[in-house]
Amino acid sequence: MLRLTLAQMRRSLGRLTAAGIAIMIGTAFVAVTLIAGAVITRTSYDAVSASLADADLVLLGSRDQGLSAEDVDAVRETDGVAAVDGHMRLWTELSAGTKHAYPDVTTLASDPRLDPQVLLDGRAPERSGEIVLPDRMAERLGVEVGDTVTTERSSWVPADAADADGADGADTAATDGADSADSADGAGAAATDVEGEWVTRTERLEVVGLNDDPTGAFAQTGGAVVVHPEDAERWALDDTMGAPVQYTEAVVALDADADLESVRGEIEAAAPEGAVLRTKDEHAQAKTAELTNGADVFTTIVLGFASIALLVAALVIANTFQVLVAQRTRTLALLRCVGADKRQLRRSVLIEATILGATASAVGLALGIGLAQLTLTVLGGVNLDVPLPATVSVTAAAVIAPLVVGTLVTVVAALAPARGATRVAPLAALRPADAPALTQRRNLPRLVIASLLTVAGVGLLLFAVIGGREMDEVLALGVGVLGGALSFVGVLVGAVFWIPKVVSLTGAILGGRGTSAKLAAANTLRNPRRTAATSTALLIGVTLVAMMSTGAASARTTLTEELASEFPVDVLVWAPRSLSAVAEPTGPADDTSAPTVLDQRLADELDQIDGTAQVQLVTSIDAVVTVEGAEATGPLRVLPAPAARGVLLAPDQAEGLDEDSVIVSQGLAEVLGVESGDVVSLGATTLDRTGGTVPTGESVERTAVVTEFGQGFLATPGTLEAMGVDATPNEMWLRMDADADPVDVVSDIQDALDETTVSVAGAALERVMFQRVIDTLLAVVVGLLGAAVVIALIGVANTLSLSVIERRRESATLRAIGLSKAQLRGTLAIEGALIAGVGAVLGSVLGLLYGWAGAVTVLGVMGDVRLTVPWRDLALVLVVALGAGLLASVLPGRAAARTSPVEALAVD
C-alpha cells in the first residue's frame, strides 16, 4: 500500500507541491517567530550579564533600601573577596556647545573583572573633573580627548548653610549659582519645613579618554560615561539632597583561590535584610525571566498571526486533497474492487498527507531558519546599539514546534478528504468516468451550526458595541472579540452555502454576454465546496486586513477630533522651566544657565517655515485664583487678546479676554464655583522644594470668563504687569495653515529647534505621533497578515490548476468546437478574478463591519467614534486581490491552452 501511495504522490507531484508551498510558508512563519523570540530572550540575557562583566557574585539591595556604603565595605572586608564595586543609579546631562547627551554615570571599576567597558583611547579619570565618554557619544557631541564638556547640576542648599555648595569639589566645580543664591530670599519665599534654595552650578569636565561598550551593558541608555568617584558621589548627593548614597547592587570579584560557596555564605550572613546574593548566571537567569515576559507576549501575538496563516494553509490543503481524491476515484474504486478495505484507503490518504506535511514543514523550517539568519546578518551589518547574536540559536522548540504543527495541520486538513476516499464505491470503477454530478448534498447540521455561530456572535458583538459604554472596558472588549470571532467562524463555516452563489451571481451580472465569462461563472458553480474554500481562504486574510485598516482609520479620525479639544493650539513649543520658574522682579531678566531663549527672533524663524500661519510668544507662569475662600492653581498663559483669538484652534476659547478679565477653564471654574462675570483674585505662585506652591508678587482682581479653554487661565500682558511679575516668554504657540501637512511642518519645526533644549507638543504633533504609531502598527499587522493572503493566493492558483487538470477533456472539447486559446485563457482569468474578487469584496465588507464594531468598542470610552471607510486601503486590497487572481490564472491558463483538441477524442 505504501508503494502505491508513493506512486500516486509521484503522479500528483505538481499539485502536492503547490499545497506544500502553502504549508511551507505557514511553518516558516512559525519558525521565524520562535527564533525571533529566542533572539530577544538571548539579547536580554546577554545585556543583563554584560553589565556584570566577569563578576563572581552580585549583591542586590532590596528595592526600597538598597545598599549603604557600609554594606559594600562589609563585603569588601570579607575573606576571599578581591574587589567590590557598588553600582548606583546615576545619570547626568552633558552639554558641548548646543549638543546634549544624557548618559549613565559610572566610576572606574576597581578590578578589570568588574569592568564591562573597554578603554579605546586616552586614559581613565584620575582626578575629579575628568571624564571618559563612549566614543559614539563623543562623536555625537563633537568632542575629542582633551576637549571640555559641561554638566549642569542642581543641589539643595539649606538656608543655614548657604555656602555649602562647592565645599567638597571646590577645585573643580565652577559654581555659577551665586546669582540665584543671592536672590534666593529676596521675594520672601514662604517657610516650608526646611528652608533652603535650589542652587544650579555648571561643572566643567575634561575628556580624558574614550571607551566602548562591546557587550551592550549600557545599550538601553545609550552608553555610560566614567568619572572620578569623587564627582560621582557629589552628583549622587545632589540627587539625594544630602542623604547618604544608596547603591542598587554591588558586584564582587573573588580571589583566585577563594571558595565561592564559603565566601557566599559569609557575605550572605553580613548582608542587610532583603538583599539577595546571586552568581552572575543566577542573576542573568532571574533577570531574563522577568524580561522575557515581554518576549513571550511578542511571541504569542506573532504566533497568533502565524496560526491565521496556518489556518488558511489548512483550507488550501483540504482543497487539494479533496481534488486528489476526486481525481483518483477510479483508482480508488479499482483498489476497492481488488479487495482494499476502507481503512486502507483512508490510511493511504493520511500517509500521503503526513509525508507532504512533514516534507513541507521541514523545508519551511529550513526557510525560516535561513530567513532569521539572513535578518541577523543584515542587522549585524547595520551596527545597531543592541548587540545581536551573530548566528541564530536554534532551540529544540523552534525545530519541533513548526514540524509538528505543520504536519498536524496537513493531516487534519486531509481528514475530510480521506473520509471521502472511503466513500468511493467499488462500483465506481465500472461506471464510465462521466461528468461529476452537480447536485451537492445539503448538509443540514453544517447549516445549523453556521447559523447558530453567526447569530450568537453577532449578538455578542452588538451587545459589546451598544452596551460597551456602561460596561467595564476590558469586559466589553472581551465580549466584542468573542462575538467577532464566533460570528466570523460562523460565516466561514457557512461559506459553502452562500459564497458560490455570490460568485456565480457576480459572474452572471458581469459576464452576461461573453462566452468566456459565462463559462467561467458556470465553472465556479460546479464545485461549490471548492470555490467556497478557495474564496474563504482569501476572505480570512482580507477581512482581517480590512478590519485593521478600518479600525486604524476610525481611530485616526476619532483621536484627531479628541486632540483638537484637548490641545489649544496646533503646535506648542516650550522651554523647560527651571525649578525657579518665575524670575523674581528684582532678579535678572535672563537666566544665563538656560541655553535657549524663546524670543521674537526664534519666533520669526519658525514663522518662516512653510505651513506655519501664526507664531505667538506666550509667557506661562503658575497662578492661583481665589474667590470666596475657594482656591485653584493652574498655569496662567499670558498673551495679547487678538493674538490669542488668532492662534487658538478654537478662537472662541479666548472670547471675552481683555485687560480686565481672565479666562478660566471650565474644570477650574467648577473647582472654584465661579461663573462668567464673577470677580476673582489672581496671583502668581512659585514652587518650593516639596513641590508645594508659594504665592509671589501682587494679587489682582479680574472678572472671570469661563470658556472651553482646556487648562488653567488666560490673561493679557497688562494683567501680568499688574501682578508685578516680570517673566520672559517661555512658550510659543503656533497655528498651521489649514492645508499644511502636519508631518512636514512638525518635522520642519523640530529641525529648526534641533539644537535647543525646548520641547514641542501640540495637537498637530500628537496627531503626527499617534498617526505614526497607528500607521506603523497597521503596517506591521498587515505585513504579518500578508503571509495569510499570499497563502490564499497560492490556493487560488492551486484551485485553478486543479480545475484545468480536471477539465482537460472539456477544454479539449471546447477547443475542438471552436474556442480559441485566448478565450480559454480568458475563461480561467475570469474564473480566478471572480473567486479572488468575491473573496476580497466580501472580506472588505466584513472587515469594515468588524473594524467599526471594534472601533466603537475600543474607542467608545473616549467619546463619539467617527466611523471611517478607508477607501484607499480597501481599493488597494481589491486591486491586489483581483490582480493576484488574474496572475494566479496565468500558469494554469497556459497549461490549459496547451491542451490539444485531439484529447477531446481520447477515451479516458
Binding site: 464510465p432 461528468a435 452537480l438 462566452t515 472539456e810 472539447t813 471552436g818 477524442l905 479516458d908
Partner: protein
C-alpha cells in the same frame, strides 16, 4: 480528381462522380516518434470524401483511422502531404485559423459525448454559435431538435440524460453551425445497440434530409452499413473502398484484410 489512380485497389469512387469533394487528402503522412521508435501511422494517403455523403472509415485497431480523421479535421498536424476542406488547405493553417475553421466549418461527435456538465442540453447545442458570436437560426434549431427527438429534453443537464440522448445532443451541437463536414469518432462506442442504431439513423437522416456531410470512424460493421460508402484502412494505407455497404459486405471486406499479411495485397 485522380483518386482512382491513387487508391491501391484501383477502385473507382462511389456512385459516379460526386458534385464536389468536401474533404480531400493528398500524400498525407503522419509519423509518430522518431528513429527506432518511429511509427508510420499514415503513409501517403490520397482520398476524397464527397459532399452530401455519409462515409465510414474502418480498419483494424491501430490502422490509423483516428489519425486520418484528426488530420482531416485540423486537430493535429501532418508530417507531410496536404489536406483540404473544400478549397481550403488546412495543413498550412495556424492555430487561430484552425480554431475559426473548426468553429464555422467542422462539427465533431465524440465517442464519450463530451457535453459540458454545467450547461443544459440547449446551452450545449448552441455553444459553438456562442463561441463564434453568431446568432441561432431558430428554424434550423427547431429542425434539429425535432429530427433528433430532443424537444422535451432541452432544459436537462447531461447528467440527467441517457447515453443515447447525450449523443443526440452532441450531434445537434455538431450540426448547429451548419458545418461543411461532421466528423464522428466511434459515436456508438459507448452506446447499447438500440441507442446506437438510433444515433446512426439520425446521422444518416442528417445527410439524406438535411444535406450534411458526415465522416465516421467505426469498428462495427453494422454501424458502417448505415453509410453510403466504407473506406478500409490497414497499416496507415487505404486498403479498400465499399460502396453502398451492407453488414455482410463490410464483414467480408474486413475479413479479406485480416486474411492477408501484405498490406499491398489487401484488395478485393
Amino acid at each position: 480528381m485522380d483518386s482512382t489512380t491513387a487508391t491501391p485497389s484501383g477502385h473507382a469512387p462511389a456512385s459516379g462522380a460526386p458534385a464536389a469533394a468536401a474533404v480531400r487528402a493528398r500524400g498525407l503522412r503522419k509519423v509518430y516518434g522518431s528513429g527506432e521508435a518511429a511509427v508510420n501511422a499514415l503513409a501517403d494517403v490520397d482520398i476524397d470524401f464527397a459532399a452530401g455523403a455519409f462515409t465510414a472509415i474502418m480498419g483494424p485497431s491501430g490502422s490509423g483511422k483516428s489519425t486520418l480523421m484528426h488530420l482531416l479535421a485540423g486537430l493535429d498536424s501532418a508530417t507531410s502531404g496536404k489536406a483540404y476542406l473544400g478549397s481550403t488547405e488546412i495543413t498550412g493553417l495556424g492555430d487561430k485559423e484552425l480554431t475559426r475553421l473548426r468553429r464555422d466549418r467542422v462539427g465533431f461527435v465524440f465517442q464519450s459525448f463530451n457535453l459540458l456538465p454545467m450547461f443544459t442540453a440547449e446551452q450545449n447545442i448552441v455553444l459553438p454559435l456562442e463561441l463564434a458570436g453568431a446568432r441561432v437560426d431558430p428554424a434550423w434549431m427547431d429542425t434539429l431538435v425535432q429530427t433528433l427527438g430532443l424537444a422535451d429534453r432541452l432544459t436537462h443537464r447531461p447528467s440527467e440524460l441517457s447515453g443515447g440522448q447525450q449523443q443526440r445532443v452532441a450531434i445537434a451541437r455538431a450540426l448547429i453551425a451548419k458545418p461543411d463536414v461532421v466528423f464522428a469518432d466511434e459515436p456508438t462506442g459507448n452506446l447499447d445497440s438500440r441507442a446506437g442504431a438510433q444515433v446512426l439513423s439520425f446521422l444518416r437522416r442528417s445527410v439524406r434530409e438535411l444535406g450534411r456531410t458526415v465522416i465516421m470512424v467505426t469498428h462495427d460493421p453494422s454501424a458502417a452499413a448505415y453509410a453510403d460508402r466504407v473506406v478500409l484502412l490497414a497499416d496507415g494505407r487505404i486498403a479498400g473502398d465499399i460502396t453502398d455497404p451492407t453488414p455482410e459486405s463490410v464483414l467480408a471486406g474486413l475479413d479479406a484484410l485480416r486474411s492477408l499479411d501484405e498490406p499491398e495485397a489487401a484488395m478485393r
